[in-house]
Symmetry: C2
Subunit: 423 residues, 2 copies
């Protein structure tokens, strides 16, 4: 089907990028051939593809239709050249846009990738043969990394009670983000059977929300390690305001520097950044710091098949991140005399968390745009929407792994203790 005009947002972005006004240019036969291949690849999904002259390919129609608008010829060829990275970059710059629900668009893409390969696949194979080295170095888009951003940005869309940039726990699907984040912290504490006399070491404490929660709710003593100076400063100030500065010590050090003996080891959302090469060292740290009847919990994004994170997210959003499979996590536990007691996969909870984050992000997009720029807003929108889809229909998982020393049984026999108190 043909559409009379190209999508206004694409035009706006194409104009906005370098100030020059670009009129829709003529399309060539090969452009249409590629768009047709793309549409065929996603046959059976609501995904359509439209070129800059308005011509559209695909089976999607009616309210379910989602249209990927490609704004100019170089964008189309960059996309063909390296879709995994370029889609994100071109979307961020507005040279590709998505008309319709962005989460549903990425979910549809995942569904299509499960199908047998079509001609698009073979085109990609040929392109891969001629592609040389990392094309990424040449990209100089103005997209900030996580670690350049600062606390204010995250406070715009994270929960307001515990500042958790990790998966929440939705005891009910209609729980608020704040309720679900507190429920996550309590879920972890319950699993660990946290008692007031316990000493706790936290690896990767973020802005301190969990440590402060444990101190206030359970009266436990916590040493919380973090290498982010900015977060440590924030966390110390927060603990002071909450009156628990005597209970929580925030230590600006790597997890490998953890010293002392503790009843509980806990780490929420750090393992993603540890890297598989350091898993054994992490296990040794836990082995060294845990008392004989100690117990621990690691909460981490994972995968159900070994793979690198999506190339664009790895490059633009989370440099160096690696979500492991359960099998890849084994070197943390098996060589260090630790026994895995319980693994819970919370992936639907992360999808729900991301939906809440995305909604708040969108509600604050004007503020974000003022803090940064339009490509930043679009990059983060795509990151949050794409991650949602990766947790609903993709390979991303959220594992909570509860463990203790081999041959010890510091926790009750059944998991009733986790669920009996929870209502």
């Amino acid at each position: 089907m043909d559409r009379e005009t190209s999508h206004p947002l694409v035009m706006r972005q194409a104009e906005g990028r370098d100030g020059a006004i670009r009129q829709p240019r003529q399309t060539w036969l090969i452009d249409h051939w590629i768009a047709g291949l793309l549409a065929a690849e996603f046959a059976g999904t609501p995904l359509n593809f439209a070129l800059w002259d308005g011509s559209e390919y695909g089976e999607g129609s009616g309210e379910e239709r989602i249209c990927v608008h490609i704004g100019d010829r170089p964008a189309l060829y960059r996309f063909v050249y390296n879709p995994e990275v370029q889609f994100g970059d071109l979307y961020s710059l507005g040279r590709i846009d998505v008309e319709g629900d962005l989460v549903l668009a990425v979910e549809s893409a995942y569904a299509a990738l499960d199908q047998p390969p079509g001609r698009w696949y073979w085109l990609r194979r040929v392109v891969q043969l001629i592609r040389k080295g990392p094309s990424l170095r040449r990209s100089k888009h103005n997209i900030h990394h996580h670690y350049d951003i600062g606390n204010d940005f995250y406070q715009l869309w994270l929960d307001r009670v515990a500042l958790q940039y990790t998966c929440a726990y939705y005891r009910h699907i209609d729980a608020s983000l704040e309720e679900a984040q507190l429920a996550k912290l309590d879920h972890v504490c319950r699993k660990l059977c946290l008692q007031p006399a316990d000493t706790v070491v936290e690896a990767g404490g973020g802005w301190g929300g969990f440590a402060i929660h444990m101190a206030k709710r359970f009266g436990v003593r916590i040493d919380s390690y973090n290498i982010s100076h900015e977060q440590i400063v924030y966390a110390r100030d927060w603990a002071e305001r909450e009156g628990v500065a005597d209970k929580v010590t925030f230590i600006e050090e790597d997890y490998r520097k953890i010293a002392g003996k503790y009843d509980v080891f806990v780490s929420i959302g750090m393992l993603e950044h540890v890297g598989p090469g350091n898993y054994r060292a992490l296990g040794e740290v836990i082995n060294r710091c845990l008392k004989p009847d100690g117990r621990g919990l690691i909460h981490s994004i994972g995968r159900d098949r070994p793979a690198l994170l999506n190339a664009w997210i790895r490059r633009r959003i989370f440099p160096g991140a690696h979500p492991p499979t359960l099998g890849e996590m084994a070197p943390i536990f098996e060589p260090s005399g630790l026994t895995v007691l319980d693994v819970e996969n919370l992936k639907p909870h992360y999808a729900q968390t991301l939906k809440h984050w995305l909604a708040r992000f969108e509600a604050n997009q004007d503020t974000v745009r003022k803090m940064f720029d339009e490509p930043f807003v679009r990059a983060w929108r795509l990151y949050l929407a794409g991650s949602t889809a990766a947790f609903t229909v993709g390979q991303l998982q959220l594992y909570q792994v509860l463990f203790a020393r081999s041959g010890r049984q510091p926790l009750p026999m059944t998991r009733d203790y986790i669920y009996m108190q929870s209502n």
Copy 2:
């Protein structure tokens, strides 16, 4: 400390073995040196070691004392030569005996093995250097393997309601074996969210107790695969008696022959016999037979460090068995597009199950002795007691792994559904 007489049971066994009466013989200096090394190795535990002349080494005293009686010099040297296998064989033959609680004795041995190596360890290292090839072939003890034994033997000491030769689930520590085995079956069904319209395939169905339970309780249709002819015959007859023969089909075939599409895949206590080399094939079978929104559960003995099963148990009780670590299980799930949703480690439940089995076994030992012989009774006593210790303080685990297809969510978001109905 010295004891005036050698332990009567040792003497009785030494007599009973070949009919000849053996008087306690003189001991040599080297016998005492070895016994002293052994006792030093187990310093800090209640374990003592006594030679056939009654001399005893070790710190154990009072009610807590456990004494390992070594009945003759060849037994001592065979034990030094290959303790892992020979202890079991010599105990079975009564040439080594344990005075005191057998479970506690093995638990003490495990605890001692965690200590830094002493002179005993170095003696063992020297012996290992001179030991050639498998000494096992030469052993011809009259100890039957699991698979030569028949149904009557197991019925003497397994539960009377579901004939489960696998770990039970103790919702309360004072539950009976029958209650705990039914609770296990229901726990598995609850985790799988079993619904009356579901079709189920069971891999390794034993005597049919679980399949019959599912048919009676949930009205589901089950295909149950098993390669043991004797068990299949028993199971068909049992299903007939219970009036569910139309619901359950017992198929005398290997799990790799599973055909058709099912809502649920379940396997309790088969993985131990599959062998790591076949895990990927098992994953492919599951991938082939599971409907898109299907779910599955594997219940298996495992370990927290990769190792072979105790050499004696592997040789005498469970030929070919291998309890995997969670890391070793990964090839079942990761290459086959399956997502692990929940792992529960039930190891204290297996210790409790084994205690119940051991008590019933002891209560029926006269019947067992008539069916077989004294070495058989002693071998099984050691196996049940040693396994108990392996689950309390050793490396054995019991993993229940719940899974579904990648990118699907056929089960509720929280595990409340497992626990809400259970009281």
